[in-house]
Amino acid sequence: MRSQIEGSQAVARAVALCRPEVVSAYPISPQTHIVEALSDLVRTGELSPCEYLMVESEFAALSAAIGASAAGARTYTATASQGLLYMAEALYNASGLGLPIVMTIANRAIGAPINIWNDHSDVMSQRDCGWIQLFAESNQEAVDLHVQAFALAEELSLPVTVNMDGFVLTHAVEPVDLPSQAQVDAFLPPFEPRQVLDPGEPVTIGAMVGPEAFTEVKVLMHAKQMQALDVVPRIASDFEDAFGRGSGGLLRTYPREGADTVVVALGSVLGTIDEVVDELRAENVDVAALGIRCFRPWPLEEIRQALQGARRVIVLEKAFAVGIGGIVGQNVRLALSGLPVPVFDVVAGLGGRPITKRSLHTLLADVLHERIEPNQLTFLDLDRELVQRELHRVSQSPRSGPHAENILRDVGTVAAGSH
């Protein structure tokens, strides 16, 4: 049923429709509304049987989820930002043990400096922890992805994160079509764990594995995650058949493939990008948007297919790897390796800075008029003057070397030549 509802509430209801048996969580903005709502549904008995564990930390939240999942319960948790980092150790453990836990990440920046607003630094910092990572661009999709995530996790016996932009989606009130319990029950069969802690059939889970087998274990983990590249699209199409609504999958292109210029992005910014795409196409600029909905495993072939016809690709991402640059950009380059397609790395929306249509128009104009070079790390709406001043001041110190000057050049200062 369609309703005007806050993203967090919608996701909470969607999760409840999936009948999790254990929810363990620790409060952190902007994820809090989700688990608050779930604890309420458990308290009122609307969600039953379900145990809600109010734990003492994110580390404990995921640890309890690990125990619950290993004991054969459908298990859910949610976190964001520092909380995800505090979970880091357990993230690898959950994926290593192959426990199908589903976790919402209400994406948020990471300190220092402390910043509670949205970007993708949190999930990107854990991109290789062995979890399947899905990204929602709207609250409707967030709802749909959670239903798919449980199916996906339990089919592969792997943990899955559903990423939704903190505040931008979690706190946005917009129309969402929530499926009925009957629909979800029909789509999502009861959880049948692959391995379970059962006195009737005892096993030792989590053995110590030495050099003689560790590599093989890791290769098998990799192979298992790669299976998701087949399972994710299948589940998405099953979902469409069941709910009459397209959602999820590995990628989505708007309005169609084969454009000269393609903007690649993840999450809620895609909506704004689509708007810009429409406005530019109205001006006969051949531009399209490619949304990545499954970031891990990385759909390398599919992306290569989607982008091989483009003349240029702009990767707009809400995080970057300090000391090297774009993260999604690097992955895209890998997908395009050998093809003559220039990739523009653009970092935007860090720490909650709005990504506006105006800025995007400017960016595209700069790219199309070659005011930006490919392979140059670009920051949207950067206060260049401020950075220049600061870098320049630093460059005066004997401790700075030529790299500092290169950065100066990158941000467009001309001061570099002067010494």
Partner: protein, 192 residues
């Protein structure tokens, strides 16, 4: 697309106002999107919330920089934030105050707007009267309905009743209806 920006202070129900407005629009079968300026604001701090209303799916998620309507819940903000930034000359302005724009020294400023689109409402007093608490947002939504016609006051009432219940709901509804009626009268008066 019709874009509304609401200014107020933490605790005045600014975010709630945006959400109620979006619900009212939704109840009328339209697409709507409400969202706050996210932050760790506490009671008393300046807060901004947004609401978009359209007939087709709303995809854009940037903050509203060029609102079609501006709701100011607390006139004391006038001296703190650039309230009117991005408000076009044919935009709507709804100000919560018992005084006139002139009294507030805004006479000159509002001249660039269509006089019918600039209204002050003593929403806080109305709220005190009907709700018993100085929460102006419901009254302002009633006034907004009268001022812009984007949503009907009945939808506003329905949205309120969906969110609240009992005396709180009814008090807010009455306040909204009262403010709504008052703005309509003022409008007729100005044309008389």
């Amino acid at each position: 697309m019709f874009q509304v920006r609401i200014h107020g202070r933490g605790g005045q129900g600014v975010v709630t106002a945006a959400e109620l407005l979006s619900v009212a629009a939704f109840l009328e079968g339209r697409e709507a999107q409400a969202f706050p300026t996210f932050g760790s604001e506490r009671t008393g701090a300046p807060v901004v919330a947004f609401c978009r209303i359209d007939d087709s799916v709303i995809r854009v998620r940037e903050p509203i920089t060029e609102p079609d309507a501006l709701i100011v819940q607390d006139p004391t903000l006038l001296h703190q934030v650039d309230l009117f930034a991005g408000l076009s000359d044919d935009g709507y302005l709804l100000l919560n105050t018992g005084r006139s724009f002139d009294d507030l020294g805004l006479g000159a400023f509002v001249e660039r707007f269509d006089v019918d689109r600039c209204v002050t409402v003593p929403a806080t007093e109305i709220a005190r009267e009907h709700l018993g608490r100085p929460l102006p947002n419901a009254a302002l939504l009633g006034a907004f309905a009268a001022l812009t016609g984007q949503v009907s006051v009945d939808s506003v009432a329905a949205a309120i009743r969906e969110r609240f219940s009992g005396p709180t709901a009814e008090g807010n509804v009455t306040a909204a209806e009262h403010a709504h009626a008052r703005v309509l009268q003022a409008g007729r008066a100005s044309h008389a």
